[in-house]
Structure formats: C-alpha cells, structure tokens
Symmetry: D2
Subunit: 141 residues, 4 copies
C-alpha cells in the first residue's frame, strides 16, 4: 500500500499557500497515513442552520478538501488535480459542533484517484455523512 510522502503539517502549509480562501483559518489536517487523511472542521456560527444543525454545503466542502489532502499527501504538490465527481449521502442530523472527516483512497491511479470520506461527530451513533469522490490527476513526468 502506498505510503504518504508529505506529513499532515506539510499538506496543511501547502494548502494554506495555494488555497488560502479554503482553509479560512479553520480546517485542521489532523493526520495522514497510508491511503488516509483525517481532517477536522471546528464549529463555526455561519455553518449553523435552522433547527440547530450544520449546513450540507459545509460538509460537502470539507469532504472535497479531505480528498484533495489525501491525494496531495500521496502524490506531492500537484495543485491542478481537480474533482470530477462527488457523491454524498447525508445520514444523520449533525449537532452544532466540530465534524471530523476520514478520507481513504480506494484507488490511486495514474489518471484518476477515487476515495471515500466518512464524516462523523463525537457522540453520534453512526456517521453524519458518507462521500465518494473522484479526482482527475494531470499527467506527471
């Protein structure tokens, strides 16, 4: 199984550099491992929705970001990898609290990377959301 070639801190520093708007000083890359990455989105007022829940788009954005992080960690600084598909199932109503994304690569090919992301929240009995996503990887030398 492929091992990561960047640390969580290196991935975070690179993303802050190329996507400053995305991190928004908020999302934390907690860990990277073989084919995996773990990210945390701290609770923010502006992701709150009526009924005291979190917005769906904030979860989609976190999942997309987690996929990008796990790919970067394994192939290095390829800013131009782009999402081609993302499929999300919303499973449980989240509480107004942090959410954690566990990204796992199912395939790291030459042209396409496919992975799944499970979004959880402390205290809930099962995931809040589940995502599968495909990234297109530009030709490398």
């Amino acid at each position: 199984m492929p091992e990561p070639i960047m640390t969580a801190a290196e991935v975070g520093a690179y993303l802050d550099d190329v996507f400053p708007q995305v991190r928004e000083g908020s999302t934390i890359i907690e860990a990277v491992g073989p084919m995996t990455a773990t990210l945390r989105l701290p609770f923010m007022e502006r992701n709150l929705r009526p009924g005291g829940t979190l917005s769906g788009p904030s979860m989609m954005a976190l999942a997309d970001y987690a996929m990008y992080a796990v790919i970067l960690a394994h192939i290095g600084k390829v800013a131009l990898a782009v999402t081609t598909n993302l499929n999300i199932n919303f499973l449980r109503k989240p509480e107004p609290a942090d959410i954690v994304a566990e990204a796992r690569l199912l395939k790291l090919g030459r042209r396409l990377a496919v992975g799944e992301v499970t979004i959880t929240q402390a205290g809930l009995d099962g995931p809040v959301a589940h995502v599968t996503s495909t990234y297109s990887i530009p030709p490398r030398n």
Copy 2:
C-alpha cells in the same frame, strides 16, 4: 405537470427569512416554472481558485440551494425538507464570472423529491457541472 404555488420573489423572501446565511445577500432566484427554478450566483472574489477558476464547493452549494428552491416553490413553506443525496459531475473549468443553475424536478413524490441541476456559464460550450439530488420531505397533513 405540477405548477409552482410560490413565485420566485416569494421563494427568495422565504429563504432570506429562514436561511439568511445561505443567501449571503447574493444568490438570485431568477425564475420558477412548472417543475423548474433558475438561480444565479454572481461572481464573488472569495469563490475564486488558483488558475482563475471557481471553487467546486460554491457550485455544490448553489445546486443544493437550487433544489431546495424548486421544491419549496412547488410544495410551499416546508423548512424541514432535507437533502439526502447529492451527486455532482464537474464538466468544464468555469471562468471567474456568474454561474446559473437550472433545477428541474424529475419526481415530486410524497416522501422524496428528485431533481437535476445543470450549471452553466455564458459563453461556454456546454455545462460547467451537472447535479442530481434527492430531498426527503417531512410528512404533511
């Protein structure tokens, strides 16, 4: 075919009321029609990404919002309809400019509403992204 029971202006006013964070004073509900709704996301600096393109999450958020708008327009003020699934294919690199979402309901059932959203941009030869999405509708009396 079901006709809308709210106008574009009524849908917009209601969404401003219940989801003030979502509209962000920006997304415009341009029209509603039988099983359809058209929304416009004006260009905003913060949705820009390296390479002069728009962020994927801003398109996912617009599509989710467009689905919510078309459902509301047809079933009335049901704040608790929730997304259960969203699948997006990113097709072309968008320019730093407005994007338009055309939502169309494929099914408006008693428990589930399913639709597709095509995201386009003036001047591009084909859609920027295509979305299908399912909402769960709470029991009504």
Copy 3:
C-alpha cells in the same frame, strides 16, 4: 456540437460483434444524433419482478449500454472505453413493458466522457429512472 460518425445500424452491428452476450438479441439501437442515442429494451419475462415490475439491474445494464453506444457513435470503434462511474435514481415503478433509454453526452473530452440517460416507458407520467455516468476513454492517436 459534435456530430455522430457512425449510424445506429453501424453501432448495433459493432456491438453485436464485440459484445454478443450484451445484446442478447434484444436491445435495439433506435437512433443516434448529435451527442445522443436512443435505445429500446423489449419486455422480457426474465426481467420481471414480484409486484409486476422490472428489475433494477436490467435498467442499470440498459443505461450502461446506452452510454457506451452514444460514445461509440461519436468516437468510433474504441472497444476499450470503460465505465468508471454510474449513478442511478429510480423514480417510478415501471410496468411489465418495453423501456426506452435516451442517452445524452454532457461532455466528450479527450480522457473522459460524461453523460446522462433518461429511462422512460410509454404511458407513464415522468421518467422511470435517471442515470449519470462517466466513461474513461483510452488514449487515441
């Protein structure tokens, strides 16, 4: 918009040749047009399910086949194009009768082709199923 370079009859003959098991002497390629193809799956006893409905897998297979046909019609005989993603929403209970698939390419790129397929049945008020799918296209010279 790209025009097809093969006729419906040519696509059908080629598919009979390379995928004899798929056609099973049954699926009919009714028409091809710019970015589109129309296929018909005649009713067969073995696709029947309890409650007098059609099997989901028979619809998934038809949609996959329709995507392959519309791609072939536009890029020519590339037997090695392969499905990378297929997402289907089942919308209405079909009757024990023929089903028709309308495939439409949303993007015909150098590496990826993305399309949607709408499955309908005469007499029903709305589609039976809706599919989006991505094919990976092998490098061509």
Copy 4:
C-alpha cells in the same frame, strides 16, 4: 448496533422464494453479521467481456442484491423495499473469477436504509468496485 434477525441461510431461502430469477441458482449469501452481509458471485461464462474481464452490470446487480440481503437480514421479510439510488465506482479490471461483495449498512432508518458495498476479488491489490446505495423501506406497523 442492530443485530441481524435472520441467518444467511434464511435470507437465501427467502430470496430464492421471492426472486427466483435473481439468484439464478448462483449468488451465494455467505454470511450476515451486525449491519453487514457477504455475498459471492461465482464466475459465469456469460458475465465475461472482451479482454477477459467481467461485465459492469453483473457487478451492479450483485451490489444491489447484497444491499437487499443486508436490509432483509436486519428488518425481516419486507419484499417491497426498493432501491432508490445506486452509485458505483469501477476501480480495477476484474479477472474472470468469483467476485465477493461486502455490504455494510451506514444507516438503517425508519424510511431509508443507506449502505456501501465493496466488491473484491482474491489476489487483487484493492477493491474491484465500490458502491453506495439507498433503499426506501415501506411503512411498517
């Protein structure tokens, strides 16, 4: 975590009874466990495709069947549970050999059940395909 209320043998016998065409005397329900089910599709000539690989539709059908089996095992004989969504990513070219589907429920709600299915093949370094799927569950008393 919910425990199954039917054994693998009971699920298999019930499916043979209600969906005789589906089993085709072939798919084997190997095991059921808490929120999981394991099925095996023995290699069959007719699922072979040019290039010595297996047909995509045979994998989609197996995944759909595995989801149905894991739901049945946990809620009992509810013949009318129906697939509403299935999303499949094809990851690696399978060999002409048996394939195994591991279904796992992500959510077993009152109205919707959502799960993922990983399809593998002995000897391959990573899954052949990955599926997420939603079933609608009819009202129960």
